[in-house]
Subunit: 276 residues, 2 copies
Amino acid sequence: METVSENASHGGVQGVYRHRSEACACDMTFAVYLPPQAQQGRVPVVWYLSGLTCTHENAMTKAALQGHAALHGVAVIYPDTSPRGEGVADDDAYDLGQGAGFYVNATEAPWAPHFRMYDYVVEELPGLVGANFAIDMERQGVTGHSMGGHGALTIAMRNPDRFRSVSAFAPIAHPSTSDWGRKQLAAYLGEDREGWKGHDACLLLAERGWHSDLLIDQGASDQFIDLLKPESLAAALAATRTPSVFRMQPGYDHSYFFVETFGGDHIAWHAERLGV
Amino acid sequence: METVSENASHGGVQGVYRHRSEACACDMTFAVYLPPQAQQGRVPVVWYLSGLTCTHENAMTKAALQGHAALHGVAVIYPDTSPRGEGVADDDAYDLGQGAGFYVNATEAPWAPHFRMYDYVVEELPGLVGANFAIDMERQGVTGHSMGGHGALTIAMRNPDRFRSVSAFAPIAHPSTSDWGRKQLAAYLGEDREGWKGHDACLLLAERGWHSDLLIDQGASDQFIDLLKPESLAAALAATRTPSVFRMQPGYDHSYFFVETFGGDHIAWHAERLGV
């Protein structure tokens, strides 16, 4: 693991690191914010999964989670959103290929050799950060924005023993019924919709439920709201009687100004559930 | 004036606007954050002047001042750092020409026709925002980072009736003795150093003083610290007995992670002095 950069932030360290990923068969870059409390011992962690077109960097520089993380004493990890580099398949569309991994393990050509973001986020990267940073892997939460909200919800529900808490900002909530989802799940997983069910938050919620509560923020003026299907998620949360807070925020759009506005609420919410 | 974008942020609006500048003889873009309190009446304002290579956008997306501005009920204005566009002179160096206006009125070729950032920030843009936004121009403060810290300190000291409060993040404090300053002041203002005196915070402080107090944050691990001359500013503040808080912050560098960490302190400090 190679250190790309480390910057002081709110008494802690915002670092960027690069490593050879076995899951993705390429070099991967990720960011970790360690709060000042990590100098005294292992701290809980909130994973932040990013949306379409993003790298590890967007939320790290725009979401301003560091101050809240320092206040509560939690680490934040920002993975990349796909494999990258020469030899890694890509597509001209912004919403397929590099920058658009959708947090699945691709089974189809040309994606299968590298696009294994599910394994990368669920297995490989936790092992790496647990071994290299003062992070308590027994206390993990996960959040994300847009495609990353999809990742957060689906990964949490598939791994309830791993994650104590989950929240999302404007998640792609029902991808198997959306143009943000059908194209990508078909490309990565094939046309058989049976294989999509494990990667659709609404379907997973109905099938498996969630052991704790959820926090969802959605901007009412989100320019992509028709692709996100918040009404399906709200209905599924209500139908399954899942303890949850679903906030339809008037005036807010899909941008980082939205995420940044409510980021403090999410970090506080996770911190409370992670025992800090 | 044309609206480029408006995004909800912390209950207020983060807007970006474009207009034809008479001072700079080109189109100029600037950003304004209006807190929710501006819906009820005019609010005080803090000008944020940015550093080398920046546009109106960098601090708007990376400094996370909006939440603090909403908490205290102040607006924040982010001007660009130079004229731009076809027909505007430029230089291959990152620290001269476009993105590096140094907040002066150029008198020398090829800069004089457009590089009038002093007049733009001191005269033209205040008139425009006062006429178009719910901002109380009787209550103005100014801050900035690096070259923008230089701009904040020099513009405030030259216009004490205009500004009630001034602070700076890692300012270029003594440009007439630095490689961040001598080249630019010579290019824009000519070789006669008499003309530089009005654009050097340390010299202005000795000559004119400041009617109130100052807040300066400087990272001790700033990679450009030798160019900034914080020791000259600290000495000048002490020698002139100017009420001030000069904080040498251990571990912090020159990045927006530094600005973002201490941005809340600066907004609170200005708000207190602007009577909110």
